[in-house]
């Protein structure tokens, strides 16, 4: 993975330079945006609801036993907003959308469609990478906002219904509001924006360097997902360290 880091950074830089062409590619950006949202929304709901629920279930009874029921909403709220929603959604999108990007661009490379674009003087970065990167950079933070809300709801449902907590819905959210601020949510959304760039650039790069036939495409898809997840986890630490200051 790390031997390609220079190429990945170069691709990101070239895509940034292509940004003035974004308006011309708006239809493709919208298509990709719809693809990402449509493909992921249900999964995001299910995943974030149960993440919220399980965090509430794991931390709630411990805090209640220590006479800290008012901390349950805050702990669940912070954990979801700052860490779990951005990271888990990024991993979900890396698997669901990053793999699709690598497979689609990889098969275009293998079957000479990208060469065909070049012979028509159509820049593959403008035509393929830019729309995907813009779409994922907007879609993932939006999905994360959605995931945070659903995750909080999942946590509140469990806190209310579990006999070891029995924290009413309204109390859970009042406690959550006391501890979690808009800045915490913005913190998670910013992280997810960075993760979206990682997924987009790594997956598109992997697609563009695909060689061989169907086996090469399969290898590219696996590498795109694994490399994205590894980089997400590494950058999660770096960003958290930076944002804690």
């Amino acid at each position: 993975m790390f031997e390609n880091i220079g190429e990945i950074v170069l691709l990101f830089w070239r895509t940034l330079l292509a940004l003035p062409n974004a308006w011309r590619q708006r239809q493709k950006v919208l298509d990709q945006f719809f693809e990402i949202g449509n493909a992921s929304l249900l999964m995001v709901c299910v995943l974030s609801f149960f993440i919220g629920a399980v965090i509430s279930l794991q931390t709630g009874p411990v805090l209640v036993e220590r006479s800290l029921p008012s901390a349950v909403g805050g702990v669940v709220g912070i954990a979801i907003a700052k860490e779990l929603a951005p990271v888990m959604m990024a991993i979900l999108i890396a698997g669901r959308i990053g793999s699709a990007m690598a497979a689609e661009i990889g098969s275009m490379r293998v079957y000479q469609e990208i060469d065909a674009l070049r012979t028509m003087n159509i820049n593959p970065i403008h035509y393929l990478v830019l729309p995907r990167l813009l779409a994922i950079a907007v879609a993932l933070p939006m999905l994360v906002v959605f995931a945070v809300l659903v995750g909080w709801f999942g946590g509140a449902v469990v806190a209310d219904m579990n006999h070891r907590m029995e924290i009413p819905f309204r109390v859970f959210f009042a406690d959550l509001r006391d501890i979690v601020g808009l800045k915490d949510v913005a913190n998670g959304v910013f992280k997810s924006f960075c993760f979206a760039i990682i997924i987009g650039v790594v997956s598109c790069h992997q697609g563009l360097v695909t060689i061989g036939g169907p086996r090469g495409i399969g290898r590219s898809v696996t590498k795109a997902v694994v490399n994205s997840i590894v980089l997400i986890v590494i950058f999660d630490y770096i960003l958290t360290r930076f944002l804690l200051k």
């Binding site: 098969s107 469609e113 065909a116 070049r118 012979t119 003087n121 159509i122």
Partner: protein
């Protein structure tokens, strides 16, 4: 290849001392030839002789280790060349974009470079598809087309560029004899209509001797002979004769 400063006349092509190696293995070992403006030049040779690699150099998809390629006397490495001359490559597989319809594929160059209004593009696409007998396939996806139809659609896509130099990579490979004749006729008709300089890479002897003004034979990364079809046919070289007369021999 570009949207500006278009020139209408066909162009000449000169290749001098072209060399290319991949992982230490020399694929092109000093290629020299010239294609005259408006002629159909066929590069023949067995599989693995370096024909497709040569073609990729001519369109700028590969960079040579040594040697030069000149279009109307100007090196293809100069940045303005793409803006000055229109070139098109018809890929062996067609290389149509599978996510677009045939019509969208054919109009892609005009759409992406915003050279015409959507209505005009629609009209041009219909005309070009009509030229290659694929008018009814405009709204089909490439996956719904046969091999021959894909190649004809790829030719239509190349025609939209109104090329001054058109390159064909194995245009009749994987096609039945009837489809091969259709493609051969397309190459001839296009050359007659527009006087486009045509460079065809193929190992199809019937196509080569049917459409070529001149033929070059490449074997193992070197050009063995260049001449008119009759000159090549009568060229007294065992490699060329073996390639031109290879046939099945059934023992009785």
């Amino acid at each position: 290849m570009s949207n500006s400063n278009h020139q209408s006349s066909s162009v000449g092509l000169v290749v001098r001392g072209l060399r290319k190696s991949f992982d230490g293995q020399e694929v092109l070992k000093g290629i020299d030839f010239e294609v005259r403006p408006g002629e159909i030049f066929v590069m023949m040779g067995p599989s693995g002789s370096g024909k497709s690699v040569l073609l990729k150099h001519l369109i700028g998809l590969e960079e040579a280790d040594a040697g030069e390629i000149l279009i109307n006397g100007e090196s293809i490495t100069t940045p303005e060349i793409a803006a000055k001359y229109r070139m098109a490559l018809v890929f062996q597989s067609g290389a149509l974009l599978n996510s677009l319809t045939v019509g969208e594929n054919v109009g892609l160059y005009l759409t992406e470079h915003r050279l015409k209004s959507p209505g005009e593009i629609q009209q041009i696409v219909a005309e070009k598809l009509e030229d290659v007998g694929l008018r009814e396939a405009m709204n089909k996806m490439p996956g719904e087309l046969s091999g021959g139809m894909k190649k004809r659609a790829a030719i239509a896509r190349a025609l939209v560029i109104e090329p001054q130099l058109i390159l064909y990579d194995e245009p009749t490979s994987e096609l039945d004899p009837l489809s091969s004749v259709v493609i051969g006729n397309e190459i001839l008709n296009l050359n007659r209509r527009t006087h486009v300089t045509s460079f065809v890479v193929s190992h199809d002897r019937d196509l080569a001797f049917g459409v070529a003004d001149r033929i070059a034979v490449i074997v193992d990364g070197r050009i063995v002979t260049i001449g008119t079809p009759d000159e090549v046919k009568n060229f007294n070289d065992p490699l060329v004769q073996k390639f031109l007369h290879a046939d099945f021999k059934r023992e009785t």
